[in-house]
Symmetry: C2
Subunit: 310 residues, 2 copies
Amino acid sequence: MAILVVGSVAFDAIETPSGRRERCLGGAATHFSLAASYFTPVRVIGVVGEDFGPEEEQVFTRRRIDTRGIEHVSGKSFFWSGSYMHNLNEAQTLRTDLNVFQSFSPKIPAEYRETEFLFLANIDPVLQADVRSKMPKVKMVCGDTMNYWIKDHAENLARVLTGLDALLINDTEAKMLAKENNLVLAARKILDMGPSALVVKHGEYGATAFFGERTFPGEYATVCPFRAPALPLAEVVDPTGAGDSFAGGFFGYIASQPELTPTVFRHAMFYGSVMGSFAVERFGTERLQQLDPKEIEERFALFRQLSHLE
Amino acid sequence: MAILVVGSVAFDAIETPSGRRERCLGGAATHFSLAASYFTPVRVIGVVGEDFGPEEEQVFTRRRIDTRGIEHVSGKSFFWSGSYMHNLNEAQTLRTDLNVFQSFSPKIPAEYRETEFLFLANIDPVLQADVRSKMPKVKMVCGDTMNYWIKDHAENLARVLTGLDALLINDTEAKMLAKENNLVLAARKILDMGPSALVVKHGEYGATAFFGERTFPGEYATVCPFRAPALPLAEVVDPTGAGDSFAGGFFGYIASQPELTPTVFRHAMFYGSVMGSFAVERFGTERLQQLDPKEIEERFALFRQLSHLE
């Protein structure tokens, strides 16, 4: 079934030890929807400026992503420039021009209203909550956030958390959100804030899912956490969007399945890691634009070999 | 079959956010041999002072560890004092008194000469190489080292590496040893230095094994790495000796098996993580002194549940 993603569509300038790109298509919604598109139909809500032309549009449409929710306004698209020259694990932001994103007010096209799966990418929690409230019949909602919203918009974020089935964030964000340095205790606190599941992304060390005691859609309940490995890579060309690609693979796989069972959740964690591992192999979305389903299955098998006893 | 371990037997003073101990039995050989003792007979070579009495001796003998190789000399045992108050992932050394360890010269009792498995814990590589050379018929040799030897005793360490089947170190040590920041490239360089396998311990994120192209004892050959998770713990009481406990579980399990197959290696990685997870639950060796084999199997099952798709 289809996923609706709300988030940024942007242009990025990126430099890493492997090279640089002056302008490549980026943004959380872009990475997410490309990764998810290999599993299930995807619909995007975002806003772009006049610099977003047919070439960029085609990146979505070639993957059959529904772009009717991408609003075109006058001005420039969101622009972000970052460097990983000193640390491949953390971007140094050189410049952020919100441009048309500054006044982004997500509008849900009528055709999107019945979408059963909703992903709230990292945007202002006020907007996340607004979209969530306009989709009362949605089956499952996942979301992301970042340090900026955790620190300075805690109350708004709290309202979003109560409406989430799963929150996907990284270690630093989880510890900051819970004000707790131990990851297990942090997870318990965050699960008390609303989500039924918390997926913590550890970068090169994979990801861990923690579960609350409440049941999940599909009568899913468990207390044992689950860890998916990351693939040891000889070269990380560009880490930008790895987390959003993880989310796309994770949620895309779930949306493609008839129901959410513990086994489906586990497979989804692996598909998240698989899509993250592809994303970082090239700059921007270059790798995610042209994957072969066979490559995805082969890499999934590699992840199994990497982590399974038998 | 039996393992011989050569390394430090010490007293530790430790403070962590969970409390403090003024004097507890420690040292790499102690943690290693206790962890390994749940899988296979263990023999220890080390040196202690007059402060090492019957009470300490019993910690070993209660686990049927052969202590005939522990030399008793006049003076005080190796003493280390460390604090984890600021960072549970890295000890801040407050004091190191080498004492009798300063002039440690490992002597291999005649009864130990035929031991088929040898673990060279973190000591001066000159001593590691010496012990290795005196055990020409050994079936498999694993070893550990640390930043101090990597930085200032590189040539001596290089000689040790050529005689190892597997090297077990942490991320920082691996990158320092290879002078390479990417872990996969670092692993390739280290495997070129001698060992057939490199096990990199990631602390709370588990461990990864990398394999060279040469075959292993037991006709073991593979190129795909293997990742074992660590157990997410709500409280890490004392991380001291976690790495040595990992090594003990890992190598103890291998020594207990009729041959080293890829499946045995993978199980060994899990048993390493299992013993590491127990070690940190209490101060010093408190937890490792009194484990029940049933607890070990239950935790092994938990690790499988934590990481396996089905």
